[in-house]
């Protein structure tokens, strides 16, 4: 795969210089910090807003609620950010003609694609680590400590799901010349996978199926079989990269 190292360095530098990396990290940190806060104070906020008319008794929030809030926010905001990062990655370069300029150099098309998705995955990875660290610390202060090892493993599964959404959008960005069309594919996949995720057996092997083992790991709920969902999502990402390459290798730029 000619030129992968050089292209990867270029892409990572681009993630930094276009402020995408720091910006996504900051937004994920915000998600990480605000999730335990929301979990802890939502009952009090509702009580204060509802006043004496508010009769529903809400259960006392726990560390599990803090994790659930984090998983929900990462699953929604995080997935949309993954789509945003991937939507223009190839399509915009084709539209502007910069892809053709790069590919006249001794670099393969496979390296061109892999370096781009790897840079997006790195940005999402750094951001997920920061979000996880922030959420873990706030959960410790507001509730109780969660098992560190399990929480780290849970964040890895959350990251894998985000990379899967990025890879779907990346395929759209490779096939079309429109970043908006790619984003449309990413958002459509997010909705469809969300619906398919409800189906018991099928749902386990979709990116949405990573949520249940991630939760069990984060909360230390005993034995967790994460290997199946993890392999399925990794396979999906690999398959999407191969399809992107098959579409891109003979594409007119």
């Amino acid at each position: 795969m000619t030129g992968l190292g050089a292209l990867l360095r270029k892409e990572l530098l681009e993630q930094w210089r276009t402020t995408r990396l720091p910006l996504v990290v900051v937004v994920f940190l915000l998600v990480g910090l605000s999730s335990p806060l929301l979990a802890r104070f939502t009952p009090e906020i509702l009580k204060a807003v509802g006043g004496s008319q508010f009769q529903i008794v809400l259960p006392t929030p726990t560390a599990a609620d803090a994790y659930d809030q984090l998983a929900k926010n990462l699953g929604e905001f995080g997935a949309l950010i993954a789509v945003l990062l991937a939507m223009g990655s190839v399509a915009t370069e084709k539209e502007r003609g910069t892809a053709a300029l790069i590919l006249v150099k001794p670099v393969s098309r496979a390296a061109f694609l892999i370096s781009k998705l790897a840079a997006i995955a790195t940005t999402l990875g750094v951001a997920t680590v920061i979000a996880g660290a922030g959420a873990w610390f706030y959960t410790l202060v507001l509730f109780e400590p969660l098992p560190v090892g399990g929480f780290v493993a849970a964040m890895f599964l959350q990251w894998l799901a985000l990379v899967a959404y990025a890879a779907i959008t990346f395929l759209g960005s490779t096939v079309t010349r429109s970043a908006l069309a790619a984003a449309g594919l990413g958002v459509a996949a997010f909705i469809v996978l969300g619906i398919l995720g409800i189906i018991p057996v099928v749902g386990t092997y979709l990116p949405t199926g990573l949520g249940a083992p991630a939760r069990a790991l984060a909360l230390g709920l005993g034995h967790v079989d994460a290997l199946g969902p993890m392999s399925a999502s990794a396979g999906l990402i690999g398959g999407l990269v191969v399809i992107s390459w098959l579409a891109f290798r003979r594409q007119e730029l």
């Binding site: 402020t19 995408r20 950010i81 509730f143």
Partner: protein, 69 residues
């Protein structure tokens, strides 16, 4: 669940508020630069997105709104 004093709650909320306001201001300052070109050409629309699209507004602008971003 540990009991928290008001000043502890404020200390925990402060980073969240600072980040949210910081993102909004950074987005608007970048948008306000004379040489900045934006997707669709309409800076007012992007200003509205930055201000009103909760949390995601500034990042939508920084990632997808800037022509050279």
């Amino acid at each position: 669940m540990p009991e928290l004093k008001p000043e502890q709650i404020i200390a925990l909320l402060a980073p969240v508020v600072v980040i949210q306001i910081g993102l909004l201001i950074a987005g608007l300052i970048d948008l306000g630069r004379d040489e900045r070109r934006v997707r669709g050409g309409n800076k007012v629309v992007w200003a509205l997105i930055i201000v009103f699209v909760n949390l995601l507004g500034p990042i939508i602008y920084f990632v997808a709104g800037r022509e050279d971003g």
